[in-house]
């Protein structure tokens, strides 16, 4: 049996154009809390990452407050992402067609969607962003706690802290790169951003990029 690509709240409204509900209000609030905390974390983290970016501490009220607030925003991010994870993990499970999609990355990048297999709620690129972020956030919260001087300094050796901060810095860089891919994809594929702002997309968007999802919504059959 083919799996269902439809999440609770997804529905289609015939009209001109067709409107498709993609994210519930709760999912969108959850997303934006997570997104805001990720951006604030990247800014406050980068401020300490390189001297040329130390001026970014000005956004947070100086060096000490940046140092103090960054890990707490990390905690917000962790729980925010946990919410997203629980909402989205199932439809992000890898399928065989995802390999086909990835194999045609050239068509993806040149916008030849007609050459790609029909995609469910998420394409392979979105799934990769999802899983790499899941992994990176686990790595960052774990390493972040080890280097959280104010509360956890007694529990780890200096050698452990050295390893943790190296891992934290590298995983943060990778996460920022993944974030760039994520944001760029949302901008490049026009019509995407309304999914997270108003919760809906046009039928044409769904037809072009997530046809299997749209078809299931219309027919009620996976």
């Amino acid at each position: 049996m083919k799996r269902s690509e439809v999440a609770p709240g997804d529905s289609v409204h015939p009209g001109d154009p067709v409107i498709v509900d993609r994210y519930t209000t709760a999912a969108r609030i959850n997303h934006w809390i997570t997104a805001t905390s990720l951006v604030l974390l990247a800014l406050s983290g980068l401020a300490l990452f390189h001297p040329s970016l130390f001026f970014l501490t000005g956004l947070f009220g100086g060096g000490s407050t940046t140092r103090m607030i960054h890990p707490w925003i990390g905690v917000v991010l962790f729980f925010g992402f946990l919410g997203l994870f629980l909402r989205f993990w199932k439809l992000n499970l890898w399928e065989r067609t995802d390999n086909v999609w990835l194999g045609r990355l050239r068509d993806v990048l040149t916008g030849h969607d007609e050459n790609l297999p029909e995609v469910g709620k998420y394409n392979a690129g979105q799934k990769l962003v999802f899983w790499s972020m899941s992994l990176l956030i686990i790595v960052m919260i774990t390493s972040g706690v080890v280097i959280w001087e104010q509360y956890f300094s007694e529990y780890f050796t200096i050698e452990q802290k050295r390893i943790a901060i190296l891992i934290h810095a590298i995983s943060a860089i990778v996460a920022i790169c993944v974030w760039i891919v994520h944001v760029y994809a949302a901008i490049w594929v026009r019509g995407t951003i309304s999914a997270m702002t108003r919760g809906r997309v046009t039928g044409g968007w769904a037809w072009r990029h997530h046809r299997r999802w749209l078809k299931e919504l219309v027919t009620g059959r996976p």
Partner: protein, 313 residues
Amino acid sequence: MFPPVPNPTTQATPPKFGEQDLMRRSASTVTPPAKRQTGVAKLIDVSKCIGCKACQVACLEWNDLREEVGVNVGVYENPHDLTPNTWTLMRYTEYDNPESGNLEWLIRKDGCMHCEDPGCLKACPAPGAIVQYSNGIVDFVKANCIGCGYCVKGCPFNIPRISKVDQKAYKCTLCSDRVAVGQGPACQKACPTQAIVFGTKDDMKKWADKRVADLKSRGYKNAGLYDPPGVGGTHVMYVLQHADKPQLYAGLANNPTISPIVELWKGLTKYAGLAAIGAFAAFGLLHHIVSGPNRVSDEDERSAKRLAQGQSQ
């Protein structure tokens, strides 16, 4: 006897070094001054130390620090470790020397070594929170410290401590305030046996040579000076009876260097990291310029409409 540093005048004296003498400044680029100050050093002769802790008291006294009353667990170390208030600590080791059959009491005055190549400074992300003067003194500047604890990870000697009270880093200053007006450090001044002497680094090395020769003549054939080259030498040096085994002295590092993990974190990771972020952003920009936006066509909308209507009829 080593000629002691003379007592100060009662006249106000301008400081002998300051901002203009910085060799290094954390998270900043400075042009080192054309004229370097003479390198200073504190020489701690472990073989002369009687473990009286006068230096520890003098340090608290001069720097106006108070240590909490602790708990006696049956050892001489008091407190049990360096703390944000205890910048120097006598560490006691009982060594059963297998060669001589003697029980030796090795007492090492622990504290910042004032490395020529300071790992703390290289790790610090806050501009000017750690500075190195051209005479070799490595000093923490409280006003600029953000309390991140990176210096703790950078230091090969496990020296800096972050205060739980004000979240700032603390360690021995080599009494930079006293040295600036021609005085020796408070610990040196208080030491009753001249186990601590202070002067130019060259003089200290010469004095150490004499001490080492003396120790060798008394049968300590491995006596020597501890001035570890892995950190470019230090401005606090030890005369050790067993210089071949620094580890004996409460775990003094045999060959300290800045950890390779710290070098990797502060070196390659920074450049590669910023380059990667730049490359991803540039790729996005270029891709958008070259291939333009991926727009939904009217045909897509019509297809969706046909699909939706076909089903609702």
